[in-house]
């Protein structure tokens, strides 16, 4: 049964710098990188190429010893120029200098009808070797799925409600055929349903309008209504011992391309957003691309932070850093490393707040778009609970109690309070609104790690 769910709790962070719906060309990136740190839950990353090797797009270059069937592949063809390691030889990046003309590893091609009769084993084999498997994320824990599991259902969120999020419909224009093929492949992996969750408001994007083999659910409400974790909670929540998989619409398209074209195609339309971007637009690039060509000359000022992803769940990268595997946007923000005289007391309409405490006047003008910088806006303090966490978490979960259980490392309590149902992004708004400035997402991951590896 498809569902329509109206969510009330949550908060839309409205920022300046939404990407205009037009595709601009920037000069293509010269280097690309695969970052093992993008793949949460990767336990023992192992590089399978050496510096100086040449690779094609789709050549395996990395795997996790703990889940060695899943191969991570090069997004482009070229030469492996650096295997960058950090402290204790922790693997950070595998850098590839791209060829001018990309050559691809060839994989099996399927027609529409031969896809229908695709066997599960065949599907898994091509996906794990063709580099698209890591698009499948397992719930609980939010880690790369294990091909040996069979999930109770697969969930796809068809829209993104994060601040300045890229528009899924725009980014995937014209990919209908591949999306459908991807859904067909996914249907081999589960005996349950494939849920496609769409925004109840606005038109259905063309990429989803005629798709078959999915169950459509509709969600409305402020962020985090577009988070797949929230959607699962309202459709078919995850209980202890159950496994579901999630995948982004782009991931489905990429799978489709692998099976229809026989290629690992890392091409991706991403949004360049943020108040400090001169041109906030969409552009075509590839997974793992160096962002320097997008940032260079596209800044309103020099003192900025470049984020791969959105402002709630993203990761700070260097100006010549690399687009994360799962990111579909970069956000450019002003850096906030300044002191502010009596900053805690000044009345202001320029800073956004979910609260309405003395002098925080942003509530007067709820549709205004704000320029926010990266300042913490206060100091870390003891938990003082005022009920705001609950009011931005549209789930039957008590965030404060769950977070306290994690801090106390109380395994039973974590389980009973619903740790299986959340990952970082689901409580990211709590981190934003928190009066005491706790690293909520870090705490959530700590709890998941405790449960997963105990």
């Amino acid at each position: 049964m498809s569902k329509t769910v109206k969510l009330k709790k949550g908060f839309d962070i409205k920022l300046v710098g939404k990407a205009e719906k037009q595709l601009e060309n920037f000069s293509p990136a010269k280097t690309f990188a695969v970052k093992p740190t993008d793949f949460i839950g990767m336990q023992r990353p192992k590089v399978s190429v050496n510096e100086g090797d040449t690779v094609k797009a789709g050549t395996p270059i990395l795997f996790d010893k703990a889940l060695d069937k899943v191969l991570y592949v090069a997004p482009v063809s070229g030469e492996v120029v650096e295997v960058k390691r950090g402290e204790k030889r922790k693997l950070l990046e595998i850098k590839i200098l791209a060829d001018k003309e990309i050559s691809y590893e060839e994989f099996q091609k399927y027609t529409e009808s031969s896809l229908q009769s695709l066997a599960k084993e065949e599907a898994i084999k091509q996906m794990t070797q063709g580099g698209v498997w890591p698009q499948l994320i397992q719930r609980p824990f939010g880690v790369v799925a294990n091909p040996e599991d069979s999930p109770k259902a697969i969930f796809i969120s068809g829209f993104d409600t994060h601040p300045l999020a890229a528009d899924t419909g725009f980014a995937l224009q014209g990919e209908e055929k591949y999306f459908q093929a991807g859904v067909t492949v996914l249907s081999k992996l589960t005996s349950g349903k494939i849920h496609l969750n769409l925004n109840a408001e606005g038109e259905v994007p063309s990429v989803f309008s005629n798709v078959k083999g999915v169950e459509i659910n509709k969600f409305s409400g402020p962020h985090p209504a577009g988070n797949v974790g929230i959607q699962i909670h309202h459709i078919d929540p995850i209980n202890k011992g159950e496994i579901a998989w999630t995948i982004s619409p782009f991931g489905v398209v990429q799978i489709g391309k692998l099976f229809v074209e026989g290629r690992y195609d890392a091409t991706k339309v991403i949004a360049i957003t943020g108040s400090e971007a001169k041109k906030a637009v969409y552009t075509k690039t590839m997974i793992g691309a160096c962002v320097d060509t997008l940032v260079q000359g596209n800044l309103k000022q020099e003192h900025v932070r470049v984020v791969s992803g959105n402002v709630l769940t993203g990761e700070k990268i260097n100006r010549d850093g690399y687009l994360g595997y799962y990111s579909n946007e970069i956000t450019i923000l002003p850096e906030g490393d300044y002191y502010e005289f009596l900053g805690w007391m000044k009345p202001t309409t320029e800073k956004l707040s979910y609260h309405r405490a003395l002098g925080l006047l942003s509530f007067i003008n709820p549709n205004k778009e704000y320029v926010l910088d990266t300042n913490v806006r206060g100091e870390e303090r003891a938990f003082v609970q005022t009920g705001v966490f609950e009011s931005v978490t549209p789930m039957d979960i008590l965030p404060v109690y769950l977070l306290k259980a994690i801090m106390a490392e109380d395994y039973d309590e974590m389980e009973e309070l619903g740790i299986y149902e959340i990952i970082e992004e689901d409580l990211a708004l709590c981190e934003f609104v928190d009066v005491s400035k706790h690293p909520v997402q870090e705490i959530v991951r700590k709890g998941i790690d405790l449960i997963q590896y105990s």
């Binding site: 405490a357 003395l358 913490v376 100091e379 003082v384 928190d434 870090e442």
Partner: protein, 404 residues
Amino acid sequence: MKFLRDLLDKQKPLFQKGGKLEQFYYAFEAGETFLFSPNHTNGIKGAQVKDAIDLKRMMITVVVAMIPCLLFGIYNTGHQHFLAVGQTAGLWEDFGPKLLLGLELVLPIVIVAYAAGGLVEAAFAVIRKHPINEGFLVTGMLIPLVVPATLPLWQVALATIFAVVIAKEVFGGTGMNILNVAMTARAFLYFAYPMQISGDQVWTYLGDKAPVDGFSGATALAVAYNAGLEGETVTAALSSHNSEVQQGLFSFWNLFVGWVPGSIGETSTLMALVGAAILIGTGVASWKIIVSGFAGAFLMGLVMNLLAVNEYMSMAPEYHWVVGGLAFGVVFMATDPVSAAQTETGKWIYGLMIGILTVIIRVTNPAYPEGIMLAVLFMNVFAPLIDHYVVKANKKRRLQRATV
């Protein structure tokens, strides 16, 4: 402000690790962050932008919400004195002298409470190496508002120190305490020095002047309680009380506005409601607790009416809202986010029980004319239990889902 910043930057290394005054880092931090919001930026992963709120701003909002009560209390302290000694009858007559007298009596109490509590707070911050918590901004203001203006200053200091140490620091500081700190201070005074904080003699400052003939310093609660014993209707007793001093001193309206004797900040229901409007409007305090607190008192008042065996029990329930410190306690004490119930369902129960208990204590207990203090402390103790059952219900829903 550049020179201030430069000054701080110059001193900072002294207090940082390896500096000479390392152990005073948190004292320095308190001063520094008071003047300047820090230049910290968000971490590499996770939320890259943050809400403009911080604990300082939240706490100062509560302090601002108390200012109407404080100002009213200052003037009322002077006003009650002038009434009692028969100097003036009109409310706004002798405005200046009343205000001055009020300031003279109240300000020292505020200063002593802040100083004593602040020192303890700073000492603990230095010894235990935790930041000085802004929660004390609120506590330091609450304590003066719940004591009579005649209270000796050394008692103010002692009660504040006792409350900060025993009610807060031994539990690990702000955020960890079980009892409301200001209420603990008051309870300490109540049991340790009852002479100075109960009875009929302490609520009005007389100084060296003699009161007018027939003056009684009793509060409305005491009058109502005695009416119950003597079989006189409460409203009659209230309206005839102290008629030598002022006609209609304890009329419903006058009680509501608060021109009556009592603790400094608690007499005015009106001002407490102004505070409530600020707290609810800014979203700092839970409206659920405030609404259910008032509702609980009214409901229990009705129940008392039904069971009435004496006149006090048949007092119209709305009187419970305006006599004593119920309004102040419900708005400012019960809503303390640390010691109140923390679940949304729990807040309803918690507030309701505070209202109910207050009325029960008032009406049925001969030893305590006012019930709000004990009701808040009692429910502070029970808040974790309420939360426990609300949380358990949440767990149960999850568990049931799994077996279906």
